[in-house]
Symmetry: D2
Subunit: 324 residues, 4 copies
Amino acid sequence: MCEHDHSTDHPSAKALLDGLPMNWGKWGPDDEVGSLNYLDPSQVMRGVGSVRSGKVFTLQIPMGHEKGDPIWPGRKMAQRYNVLDKGDFLSGKMPEIPGGTEYSDDMMILYLQGSTQYDALGHVWHDDKLYNGFDARSTIGSMAKASVFPIAERGVVGRAVLVDIARLRGKDWLDRAEPFGLEDILAAAEAQGVTIEKRDILIIRTGWIGSFYKRDQEEFYGEYAEPGLDFSRELVEWFHEMEIPNLVTDTIANELAIHPSSGVSFALHHSLMRGLGVTFTEIAQLDPLADDCAEDGQWNFLYTAAPLKVVGGTGAPVNPVVIK
Amino acid sequence: MCEHDHSTDHPSAKALLDGLPMNWGKWGPDDEVGSLNYLDPSQVMRGVGSVRSGKVFTLQIPMGHEKGDPIWPGRKMAQRYNVLDKGDFLSGKMPEIPGGTEYSDDMMILYLQGSTQYDALGHVWHDDKLYNGFDARSTIGSMAKASVFPIAERGVVGRAVLVDIARLRGKDWLDRAEPFGLEDILAAAEAQGVTIEKRDILIIRTGWIGSFYKRDQEEFYGEYAEPGLDFSRELVEWFHEMEIPNLVTDTIANELAIHPSSGVSFALHHSLMRGLGVTFTEIAQLDPLADDCAEDGQWNFLYTAAPLKVVGGTGAPVNPVVIK
Amino acid sequence: MCEHDHSTDHPSAKALLDGLPMNWGKWGPDDEVGSLNYLDPSQVMRGVGSVRSGKVFTLQIPMGHEKGDPIWPGRKMAQRYNVLDKGDFLSGKMPEIPGGTEYSDDMMILYLQGSTQYDALGHVWHDDKLYNGFDARSTIGSMAKASVFPIAERGVVGRAVLVDIARLRGKDWLDRAEPFGLEDILAAAEAQGVTIEKRDILIIRTGWIGSFYKRDQEEFYGEYAEPGLDFSRELVEWFHEMEIPNLVTDTIANELAIHPSSGVSFALHHSLMRGLGVTFTEIAQLDPLADDCAEDGQWNFLYTAAPLKVVGGTGAPVNPVVIK
Amino acid sequence: MCEHDHSTDHPSAKALLDGLPMNWGKWGPDDEVGSLNYLDPSQVMRGVGSVRSGKVFTLQIPMGHEKGDPIWPGRKMAQRYNVLDKGDFLSGKMPEIPGGTEYSDDMMILYLQGSTQYDALGHVWHDDKLYNGFDARSTIGSMAKASVFPIAERGVVGRAVLVDIARLRGKDWLDRAEPFGLEDILAAAEAQGVTIEKRDILIIRTGWIGSFYKRDQEEFYGEYAEPGLDFSRELVEWFHEMEIPNLVTDTIANELAIHPSSGVSFALHHSLMRGLGVTFTEIAQLDPLADDCAEDGQWNFLYTAAPLKVVGGTGAPVNPVVIK
C-alpha cells in the first residue's frame, strides 16, 4: 500500500461506494472476522468433501529467496540472522552441553505484510471508520480492533476455487497494471469447467508473483504497477450475494491499485474488506497449484490457513495449505 | 535449548543411542524432511477421513500476549512496532492518498523458535553430523541442509491423535521436570478410548504452556525445568515401528531436557529428530482442543500445518489447524 | 519514562510551572537546540582552557554488558548479532576474497534512549506543545521538530563541572528515590572546592548507574525508583540565571520521577528541558571520572559529546569524552 | 567489505606484506587498541594546543537521510521506528501520566558499520590471525579480542590534520576507483601549508561521501568502486615512522578496495590496521570542515571521538567532534 498522485479531482471512496452492500453489524458490534463467519462447520465439511486424491500444496512464497522477496515499495525485505550455529562450537566459546549436544538458533526482522499474508480487516479504511465501524484511532500503536489476531485465532477452512486469469488470457503472467473484472472471473471458471459456489474461498491467479523470480527486479518493480481485479459495483454485489469469505491472489495488493474511472485507490479494500468484511490473502504463490489443476482438471479443493497469531497486528504471514 | 552442568561423568549421546534405529539414507542422500515422507497421499486421505463435524482449532500461542510469551531462557521475546497508523494521518505528515485511503502497517523482530514452531531437522546434532549425515558446518550463517524450508514447502497433513498426560494424571498441568514415557502415552490413549495408528501425527498434552498464562512468570521459569517425554530405547523403537512423522507438544523442548540416568541432554532430539527424522512441533497451545476432545470423545482428527518458508531457518513459527 | 499513579488530586505540570522562566523564542521560532546556543566559541575556548594534564575519560556505559544494561522499565535491552565472522569462512560457504581477506560484520537492535544518550528537546511535553512551542503532533512517526538531530549536528563542547552528591553524603550510591536539590549541588561544589560558573555544563553523580553492575538486578530495579534531582522553583531559576546548557547525570531520567509535593511527573523535563531548552544527558558512567577528580582535586574540564545523528530521533546514544 | 574476482593469479596478502613493519606485541600481548597507544596525555595536550578560535564541527553523516544512507553493498540501511508518540496519547490508549506528561520513544535496527564508524582492529584479517596475533576464531559470534569496545572505552583525542585530495586535484569529488598515494598526501599538505607531525591523526578528504547526497543513487553505487588511498610499501613505512594512530576518510572502506598490481583486496586494512594497529574511521562527512579550513587556512585542530561502547562489536557508529 502506498500513496499515489491524484488521478482525478477529489476522488472519494465514500462517494464511490455509496449504496453498496455492507456487512457492518451483521455479526454483532464486536465482530472482527467478518465474512469468515460464513465458514461454519457445514462449510468446513463441504471443503473436506472436495478432497479427492490427497495431493498437498503450500502457497507461501519463500522468505529470503536468493533473488529477494517481492514487497510493496516502501516496505523492507525480511532479514534473518543466525544467533548460534556450528561456528560457535568450533570457536571453543560455547560451554560443553551434556552428551555433546550442539544446536543452531536464529532470529528475523520482518514486515508483517512483507510476505504471503492475511490482512487485518481493519488495516485499510477511510472516513475514520474501520470495518464494522470501529474508530480509526484504535489502530494507533497497535490494532485494538479488527487486527489479524482474531482471524489467526479462528483459522480459515473451507472449499476454495482457483480461477486462472493468466491462463484464460493465454499469458504466463498478466501485464503491468492490467485490469480484469467479474466477467473474467466467471469466464475463467467456465473455461475451467468449475462452478463457483456460495461461500467458496476465491483464489485468483495472475502469474504476477511467480514472475518476480523469472525477471529482473527493475523490470518487476519499475514504477510499481501490478495487474489486478478492478472495482465495479457488480463485482461487490456478486461478492455479497455469493458470501465469499476470503479473496486470495498472487499480487501484493489483491486489486488494481487505482480504480481508473474514479481515481479512488484500493477500492476493493474499501468495498470488500472494510465494507463486507472479506478477508484478503495477498502475495500467494499459485503457479504450481494452477499447473496441477490444469493437468487433473480439479479446480476446487480444501483450503486451510491460519496466519501467525500476532496480537494487534495489521497483518501476519501465513503459509496456506491446499488439499486436493 | 541451552547448556547444563554435567550430571554424570562424560555423558555421550553417541553411546546412549548406539544400536538404535536410524533413517539416514532411507529417503535418499538429499532428503531433508525425514519421516514426513511417510505422509503420502493415502495418509492425507486417512486424515481427511477422520473429520466428523467440521470443528476447527488453531494451535499457536499468541505472539505478544499481555503476560508475555513463553520462551526458552536466553531467547528474546518478539517485539512488534507500528510503522504507520491513524496517528500519521492525524499528524498531517502523510500525503493524501486518492479517495481518502488510510492504512496501517507494522513490523516485528522475533526469534524463529520463539513461538509455536517447527524445528528444522538439522537444528540439533552431535558428533558433527546432522540428520541424514549432513555436515554440521552446513549450519553456519544459515542452514544449507535440513533447514525448516523443505518442511514448510511440503506442509504437514495427516491424521493426528492427541494424548493427554495431564488428564491421565488428574492434573491441570504436569509439574516442573516431571517425566513421562511410552507407557504413559499408551495408557492415556487407552483411557481416552483412542487407538494410535501407524503414521499418526502424535500430539501430547502436558498442560505446561497453558499454565504460563495462569501463573506468575517467576513460578513458571524458576530455574527452567519443564515436564517432558523421557528418552527410552523402547520409546525410540516404538516411534520407528509406528512410523510417527511428527511429534507435537505443549512444552518448549518437546522432551525432558536431561535424560536422568545418562545425563545426556535432548536425547529425543538426537534419537527421534536427528536419527529417525521425526519433525518436532513445540510450544503448541493444546488446552482448548483437549477440552473439546474430552467432551465429544473424539481424540483423532485431520491436522494441517505449514511453518513459514524461511530460507535457511533453524525453525519457523507456525499456526497449525486441526479439523475434527 | 513511564506512567505513574496519581499521587495527588489532579496534578498539573502547567500549574506547577506557572511563572517560571522560559526560553521559547529566545533563539528564534525555529530553534531546536535551546540552551546549547550558549555554547558559543568563547565558551568552547573556556572549556579548552580548563584542560591541565591531558587525561581522557569516556562516559558511556557498555552496550551488551554480561550483567545486562540498565534501562527504564518497558524499554528492551539492545541485541547485537554477527552477520559474518570466521565461522562463515570455516564453513566453506564464503567465496574466496582476493588476497585471502576475511572479515567480520554485525548488526544491532536498540532503543535509542536505551544507553547513555542525549534526549531530543522535544521528547517530553505537556499541554500539546514541545520546547519552543512546536506542536506535539510533530512527534508522530518521527520527530519533525526538536529531534536529537540538530543537537547531534551541532555537537556539545564546553567547560563542565562535576558535582558528586554521593560523595557529599558519604555513600557509594544514593538510595532508591532519594532526593537532592540545589542546596546539595552548591554544597557539593563547595566541599569539592570548585566554582560552578555561568554556562558550565553540569554533571551530577549519584553513583546509581555504577551500582547496577555491583548489585542484583532485582535489587536495582525493584519497583523502579531511582534517586534524583528534585524540582524546585529556585532550582529552575538558578539554571536560568546560570545559563546551564546541558545537565548530565548517572541516572536513567536525570531527576526524581515524581515531584513529591505536587505529584507532577518529570517536572525537570518540563521546566528545564521543555521550558529552558536545557539538553539532558542520561545514564552516564561517572564513577571513574569522579574517583580521578577526588584524587587530583580537579572537578572542571573540557567536555565534548555528539550523539548519533539520528534523523527524527527522540534521543540518540552517545559516548561523551572528558579531557582534564 | 565484499568479495571480488581474482584480478591476478593467486594474490596473497601475506606475500604482499612480507617484510613490512608490524606492531604486534609492541604494547603487550593483550593490547587491543594498537596505535591509539601513541595518544598519551602529551599528545592530548598537543591537540588541545592546536585550538585557536573555538569553532566546532561534527563529522558523522546523518542516519536516515531522505536520500538514504551510503553503505557498502550487502549491508542494510538503518531503520528507525517510533515506539510511542503523540499519536498514542490522541488514541486514548495511554493511561494518563501525573501532571499531564506525554513523551515519545523510538528504536533502531542498524548495521554497526553502516554509518560513520570506527572499525574494530580485529575486524579484517588474513592467515587466521587478527591484529596482535589473536586467533581469528575469536571473532565467532562476537569479537572476544580486538573488538571496538576497548577503542570506545579509551576514546580518541589528539591533534589531527586534514589533507584534501579532491581540492588538490581541483575536483568536487574524486572519480570512481580513482587512486592516490603517499605523494598526494604530502603534496596536499604542502599545498595547504600544513605540516603533518608525528602522531597526528590523519584525515583525508576525497569528497566521495558528500557526493552521495548530490547524485543519483545508481550513479553513486553502479558496480561499487570508490576512490581511495592505494597501498604501497612506502606508505606503510611512512605510517609506521610517523606513528599515525588513526586514519579517517570520507569513503566507506578508507582505501582502494583492490591493489591493482597485486590484486590483493583491502591491503591497507591488512598492513595498517592489522599490521600496525592503526584505527580506521570510515564514512566521515568532511565537506563543511574542509571548506572552513580552506577559508581560514587552519588545517590542524583538536579531534575527539569515541564510538559507542558495543561489547564484542566489529565496529561501532561515531560522531567525531573537531575543535578548531
